[in-house]
Each structure stands twice: as structure tokens, then as C-alpha cells.
Amino acid sequence: MSDLSQTPAHPTASHSSLLTQSERTKRRNAAEKRFKAYGATAIALGLAMLLVLVTTIVSRGSGAFQQTFITLNVELLESKLDKNGERNIEDIKRVTTFGYAPLVKTAMQTTVEGLGIETSLKAKQMAGLLSKNAVAQLRAYVLENPHQIGETVEFRFLAQSRVDGYLKGRVSRDSIANDKNISAAQLDLVDTLIEAGVVEKTFNLGFILGADASDQRPEAAGIGVSMLGSLFMMLVVLALALPIGVAASIYLEEFAPKNWITDIIEVNISNLAAVPSIVFGILGLAVFINYMHLPTSAPLVGGLVLTLMTLPTIIISTRAALKAVPPSIRDAALGVGASKMQSVFHHVLPLAAPGILTGTIIGLAQALGETAPLLLIGMVGFIASNAPETIAEGLLSPNSAMPAQIYEWAKRADPAFYERAWGGIIILLVFLVTMNTVAVLLRRRFERRW
């Protein structure tokens, strides 16, 4: 009887109606709405982060692609550059950059005077608007064209980084109050020179193709040489990781017997894919540099380290591509008398090639953006100022790589270098986006559904 008494004859629910929601239903529906909103917020948050990241990169980095130039007519005085007048290249070479400084100073002064600009600045201060690179540029030009000594030639010199920053809005009269590199009076002169068209901001090819410059000359720094460093590293990675990775995958996927050795190899590869990249840097330092005495900072060493790092990625994607080829292909090949090896190399591998290629490109893109191991094998901390001339030099002489160069710029204290760093990131991302797009397109174009 106690059972009966526990069951109410009229359950309370029967009082509720479908038309009006009970307290509890309202609460549950509200919880449902909240839960869904959390999810949508999370997505929105993630996408907002991406947006913020991309806008930051673009807004802060696009400045690096523009640079302020000052156009001057420089009289290449024979009395300064070639005292004997014999045009002997050895004599001309003997004049150091110090010998060229007065020419630039005079050119600046005559230009300002010629425009009828009143200024209290001395010639030296006027020439201070130019980059320290200007004299070197002038000297290089003269050494290449010694016959033009004595003539007046028009030059486009880089403006110094503060002037450049002023045109880009990074430097203002307030921010230079304690700056010994530039004064408000010099900025006034810049204003008038802009109106006269002597100072102008144009596209900066030097940033994309040029070499890095020392701490003092951010306006002259470019990413071109370290781009070559990255290129050579990628060549090493491609030449080693692709064949080794494909060979390893073919063995594991097609030939390996199911035993404990194969298991160890497989577990090993998946673990290697999760090892922090810096550990590969330590390995590179200990084995390639400390033990084998390969040259420090060389793209060859960087390439070897990145090869070891990329191998698991390539192996994993290659195995997936091989697995996607249906067994009927192998059976058909074996059936018409091909050996196992022939069935793999003549039939399975070509059919898996698009997938392998896609995986390789993605692995290369990963390697291209990797920085940490490069720090340990010495690809930062020096100025990559010379482009390699031969392939051997490109592989063995010290160089930087794009991400290492960006890190190097970010470490320097001058905000002008920060702009370079963001600009470098734009270039790096352009490469990565291109590579990934190619990978996606390849997959779309050649992917076969069986």
C-alpha cells in the first residue's frame, strides 16, 4: 500500500499547459540559448583574433614597402675623387666614404639654396637628413662609372629613418624632443622640401631585394638576402626530406611486416611529430655543429635540422596518400605479372603523387616559418649583408633566414626596425599563403575519388 500512496493521483504536471511555459521550461530554454550563445561567442572570438592579427600585421607592416627618398644633383668633383685626373680605378678606390661626405653636403646645400629656402641650419645638419648609406651609395656609383667624374649626376638617396618616420607619421615634433638624431628645425626643412618635390615617399624595392643593414641604418635594411638563405634551406629540405620521407612511407605502408620493429618505428614517427622544434635545434647544434664541425649559421645546417623536423609531417601525409590508393590497383598490377616493387613504383606511387606533393608543400611551408631551431645554430645575431654568389656559397657561407631576420629586427630597439619586422612578416605570410594555396589547388585539381 505504501507504493500507492507515493504516487500522486494527480501529477502536478497536468496543471501546466502547452501554451504557457512553466518556470522550469523557461529556465531550460534560457540555458539552451545561453549555451548556444557561448558557442557563437567562441567562434566570433577566434575569428576576431584572426582579424586583429591580420589588421595589425597589414597596418604596421605596409609602411616597410614605402621609403622616403631625397633626390639631389651631386657634382662629382674631380679634385676630391681623383686628384691625379688619370681615372685610375685603384686611385679612385683609395678615396674612402669620408672623402665623399663633402660632396653630399655641398649637394644638399646647393639644392636648398637653389630652391630659395630660408633656413638656419648648417650644411652638416641639412645633410643629416640623408641616410648614412648615402655616401656609400655615391662611392659605389663612382667606382662603377669612373668616367662620370667631373659631371653632375642626379641621385636618389635614402632619407634617414627619422625623416622617413616623419613622413609615415611614426615620428612627430613631440616625440623627437630628446632625440639627438634630428631636430624640429630639420623637420621644418623636410616640410618645405616635400613641397618642392625633393623629398618624396615611393615604393621600396630595396626592402624586398636588399640586404640587412647595421643598427644605425634601419632605412637601408632589406630582407632579400635572408630570403635567399631561406630558399637554400628549403632546397636542402626538399632534396632530403622528400625522397627519404617517401621511401620511409613506402616501406611502412607497403612492405613492412606487422611486428614490433615496425610498431616502434611508427610510434617513433608520431612522437617525433610532437617534439618541440627547439629540441631539433639542440640536436642540430650538438651533432652538426659541435660534432661534425659544419659551419655555423650556414643554410646547409639549417636545412638539415629542418629536414629532420619536416620528415614526420611528410611521412604522415605520404602514408595517408598511399593508403588512399585502392588495393584493386595493386592487385591488378600483381595479376598481370608485376613484382611487388613494380606495382608500387609503377602504379601506386604515381597515383599517390598529388597527395604526396600536397603534403610536401605543407611541410615546406611549416619549415619556412620555423624560427626556434635556427636561433640555436646561429642564424641570428649578425648582419646578412652579402648575397651568395654560387650555390656552394649559398649553402655554406653564413646567412640568415626570413623568420630569423624578423626576430633579429624585433630585438633591435629602434621602432624603425619594428616596421621592417612587420613588413618581413607580410612577405613571409605571402610565401606561406601562396604555398598553401598551391597545395589546395593541387589537391582540388588532381584528387581522385575511388
Binding site: 549555451f35 621511401a247 639542440i282 650538438a286 612587420w422
Partner: protein
């Protein structure tokens, strides 16, 4: 660059072998390929392979083994009394090596002739100044024993190189003639070639093991060296990280571990809720259009190189936090909780952003794998969608999600660039997330960049740190795999 030419020569020889082997086999069959056991290309490939593979193998082994051999021989020449107190043999050996390299460079650049370098006497000539002239800086004056050892080093190195060239060429030529003579129409060339190719494939696959062994051995070796110079108790149980290149450093991993875990915890605090909710929304609520649009966009975050995040932390997030929590007139809130742009929070938040897609795409896969029948059952009983997710789908997916979080944690612990640029360099125990702290990876970078002296504990500690990091991340990965495998629900 003789090794380069040697490689080219070997390649040329094997190409020659290919053509020759193919021709000979065809000649024995009177030019009729039908009489051959295998296709003609296999006879060529056989000769090419037997020429190139053993020679290249010998070359690689030689290049790897020669330094070890020379090192041992030369190290035996250095008398015990030459080794200064508090220093190891390694220090003297690095002097020897630098001197030997300097002399080689002098010959290469033409500053000295070969005969001149061999006739050098440490008493009569100022080697240090001479080498300084071509840009080789020696740490101290050259002692006669060191010079002697350096000369022996050079002699061994150059003899070794000659021998290497000789040996590889002999092997190549031997293989060439042997297999060339075997190229007969009855020779089972295909079988031999295929066995060779299979051996090469196995070799490539075992390279993965070799890499792991290399990682472990290289770090273990230097770590043992480190513990020979520095007390292991201080490393594992000390409380201070204060490297001092004049010696007497306190090198304890604990403050670094604290910084590492603190930053990783903040990163996970950002990444796990956002990533998990994003995954739930994408797999349970979003329509296919939203999914096709949002999922790849989120995954872009994972493809951005870490240097970009590092720069973002250093130049955007750090200054922004400083503006909010900073000192004096800079601080918007008037609080002076933060003194510099680098802090635990800076690095943690940015790393969290990086990990969002990591958590979300892994969890997304796992949630999608929960069978629809479970959801239908729950919905049929009258549960709302969110109740279904919380009480049915998530518990079913939990092992996978825990695995994903552990993988993300392992990624966070091993992350380098973000913490190098955003976390700072001060090792301390502090609970304030607005202070700068340091991590294992940043210390590895700072101890191993610049001039490194492999005989000082301050450099070697980086290997002990690296090994700890390796063990830590490996442990997390294995744990993640174990959890996923053990607690996975089987629905079939």
C-alpha cells in the same frame, strides 16, 4: 671542396655503370631483350646501385666517424699536467681544434704556405698574432704541446680525407667491376635490384629511429657532462636560477618549470574554453555554410608561424597590457601592477590564441565521432540540445577531449618564440601574472646563442633543460595517447 667533387664523381661513375651494365647484358643476349632474365634497365640499375650505394654509405660513415677517431687520438697526446684546474680536457681540445682550423685557414687564404705552417715553433714565432691577422682569435698564447697536438690533428684530418677519397673510390670501382662482370643474360638482375631498393627503403624508415636516438644521445651525453660539473641536487631541487659565466652559478630548473607551467596554464585557460565551445558550436549547432566558412578560417591561426605571434606579443599585446595595468600616467586604471611589456599574461594570452584551433579542430573531430544515436536517444527523452551536449555528447567524448588538451599543453610547454619575445628573462617564483618570468625554452635559447663554451656548466645546462623538456613533452604525448586508447568508448 673535394667532398663535393667526390660526390659528383661517384654519381658520374654510377651513371657510367648504368649504361655499361645495360649494354653488356644486351650484348650477351645478342641484342635481343627477350632473352634476358630481367628488363634491360634492371641490369643497368644493378651496376649503378652496386657502384653508388656502398660508396656513399662508406662516405657518410667516414664523415661521421672521423672526428671521433681523430679527437680520441689527439686527446691521448695531451699530457695531464697541461689541463688547468677547474677545466676539462674538452677546453684544451677546443684550443687545439681552433688552432688547427686557424692554420688551415691561413693556408687556404694564402697567408702562410703549407711548409710554413708545418715549420712553426711556438717558442720562436708568434702564432697568435699571425692568426689574429687573418681573423682567427685564439684565447691564449700557444703552448708547444697544443701546437704539437694541433699539427697532429691537421695531419690526421688531411690523411683521413685522402684515405676517405681513396676508400670510397675503391669501393665504387670495385662494385662497378664486380657487378659489371655479373651482367649476363641469365643473371637475375630484377630480384637483386628489388632487394637493394627494399634495403634502402628500410634504411629511410629507420632514419626516424636514428633521429630519436640522436636527440636522446646528444642531449644525454652533454647532460652527463653537465652533472659532472654541477650538482644534480641543485639542478632538480635548488630554488634559484642565476647563471654566472664567471662560475659559481646556481642553475635550478624549478623556477623555470614554474614559469613554463604558469604561462602554459594561462594559455590553456584561453584556448580550452574558446576552442571547446567553438568545436561544440561547429559540430552541433552551425549550419554547413557557417562551418565551411569558420573552420578553415580558424585553422589559419594554427598555420601562422610562431614568430608572428611572438612579434604580436612583444609589440602589440604587451604594450596594450602595459597601457591598462602599467605604472603612473601610462596606466589607464591608475594601477602600477606592471612594469614592462613582457609578462606571463602577455605570453600566455598570445599562446592561447595560437592554441585555439589546435583544441577546436581536435575536439571537433572527436565530437563528430560520437554516434548520432546517442544524441537522438537523449533528444527523444526530452532533453534540450545543450543538455544533450553537456550530459551525453561531452561525457562520451571526454577521453578524446582530455587527450586534445594534453596535446595542446605539450605544445604550450615546448613553444619557444612566443615566450622568448613575450615572457621576459627573469626566473622567479611569483604568482603575479603581470610580472615577467622565464621558461625552459627561453633559457635554452639564451644559454646556447652567442659564444658557447661546451666546457662550462652554464652552456651545458641547456642540454639538461632540453632533455627535461623532451621528457616532459614526450610524457604528455604518451599520456594523451594512453588516455584516448584506454577510455575510448567503443560504439559498434
Amino acid at each position: 671542396m673535394p667532398t663535393f667533387w667526390l660526390v659528383l664523381l661517384l654519381l658520374a661513375l654510377s651513371a657510367l655503370g648504368y649504361v655499361a651494365g645495360r649494354r653488356r647484358a644486351l650484348a650477351t643476349a645478342d641484342g635481343n631483350p627477350g632473352d634476358l632474365h630481367s628488363l634491360p634497365i634492371y641490369y643497368g640499375a644493378n651496376v649503378a646501385m652496386t657502384t653508388a650505394v656502398p660508396a656513399f654509405g662508406a662516405l657518410v660513415i667516414w664523415v661521421l666517424a672521423q672526428p671521433l677517431f681523430i679527437e680520441n687520438r689527439v686527446a691521448g697526446m695531451i699530457p695531464q699536467n697541461l689541463i688547468p684546474e677547474n677545466a676539462s680536457l674538452g677546453l684544451v681540445m677546443s684550443d687545439v681544434r681552433r688552432l688547427a682550423e686557424g692554420l688551415d685557414l691561413a693556408v687556404e687564404t694564402g697567408a702562410m704556405t703549407q711548409a710554413q705552417t708545418l715549420a712553426l715553433e711556438s717558442e720562436t714565432s708568434d702564432i697568435r698574432a699571425q692568426l689574429g691577422g687573418i681573423g682567427v682569435a685564439l684565447g691564449s698564447e700557444v703552448r708547444p704541446e697544443v701546437l704539437q697536438a694541433a699539427q697532429a690533428f691537421r695531419r690526421l684530418a688531411s690523411n683521413g680525407k685522402d684515405l676517405m677519397i681513396l676508400a670510397t673510390l675503391m669501393l665504387a670501382l670495385g662494385g662497378l667491376t664486380l657487378s659489371f662482370r655479373k651482367s649476363h643474360k641469365d643473371f637475375r638482375a630484377r630480384n637483386v635490384v628489388e632487394r637493394g631498393v627494399l634495403a634502402l627503403l628500410i634504411l629511410a624508415a629507420s632514419l626516424a629511429i636514428l633521429t630519436t636516438v640522436g636527440i636522446v644521445l646528444s642531449m644525454l651525453f652533454e647532460t652527463v657532462n653537465f652533472f659532472g660539473l654541477h650538482a644534480w641536487k641543485d639542478f632538480f631541487f635548488g630554488s634559484t636560477w642565476a647563471p654566472n659565466f664567471r662560475g659559481d652559478s646556481e642553475l635550478s630548473i624549478l623556477p623555470l618549470l614554474w614559469g613554463t607551467f604558469y604561462i602554459s596554464a594561462i594559455a590553456l585557460l584561453v584556448a580550452v574554453p574558446v576552442g571547446l565551445f567553438a568545436a561544440i558550436y561547429l559540430s552541433e549547432y552551425a549550419g554547413s555554410a557557417v562551418r565551411a566558412f569558420a573552420k578553415p578560417l580558424l585553422e589559419i591561426l594554427a598555420g601562422i608561424p610562431t614568430i608572428v605571434y611572438g612579434l604580436f606579443a612583444l609589440l602589440t599585446v604587451g604594450p596594450l597590457l602595459l597601457k591598462v595595468f602599467g605604472q603612473g600616467e601610462n596606466g589607464l586604471l591608475g594601477l602600477s601592477w606592471m612594469s614592462g611589456a613582457t609578462s606571463v599574461l602577455t605570453a600566455g594570452v598570445v599562446m592561447g590564441i595560437m592554441l585555439i584551433p589546435f583544441v577546436s579542430s581536435l575536439s571537433d573531430d572527436i565530437i563528430t565521432a560520437v554516434p548520432q544515436s546517442l544524441r537522438d536517444g537523449s533528444l527523444g527523452l526530452g532533453a534540450t540540445k545543450s543538455e544533450t551536449v553537456r550530459q551525453v555528447v561531452l561525457p562520451a567524448a571526454l577521453p578524446g577531449i582530455v587527450g586534445a588538451v594534453l596535446l595542446a599543453a605539450s605544445r604550450a610547454i615546448g613553444e619557444t618564440m612566443i615566450v622568448v619575445m613575450g615572457a621576459g628573462a627573469i626566473a622567479k617564483f611569483s604568482a603575479n601574472p603581470l610580472e615577467s618570468m622565464t621558461t625552459i625554452t627561453t633559457r635554452v635559447v639564451s644559454q646556447l646563442t652567442g659564444d658557447t663554451d661546451f666546457a662550462s656548466p652554464e652552456t651545458l645546462v641547456a642540454f639538461a633543460l632540453g632533455l627535461s623538456l623532451f621528457v616532459l613533452t614526450l610524457g604528455l604525448n604518451v599520456l594523451a595517447l594512453y588516455i584516448v586508447r584506454t577510455y575510448r568508448e567503443q560504439y559498434d
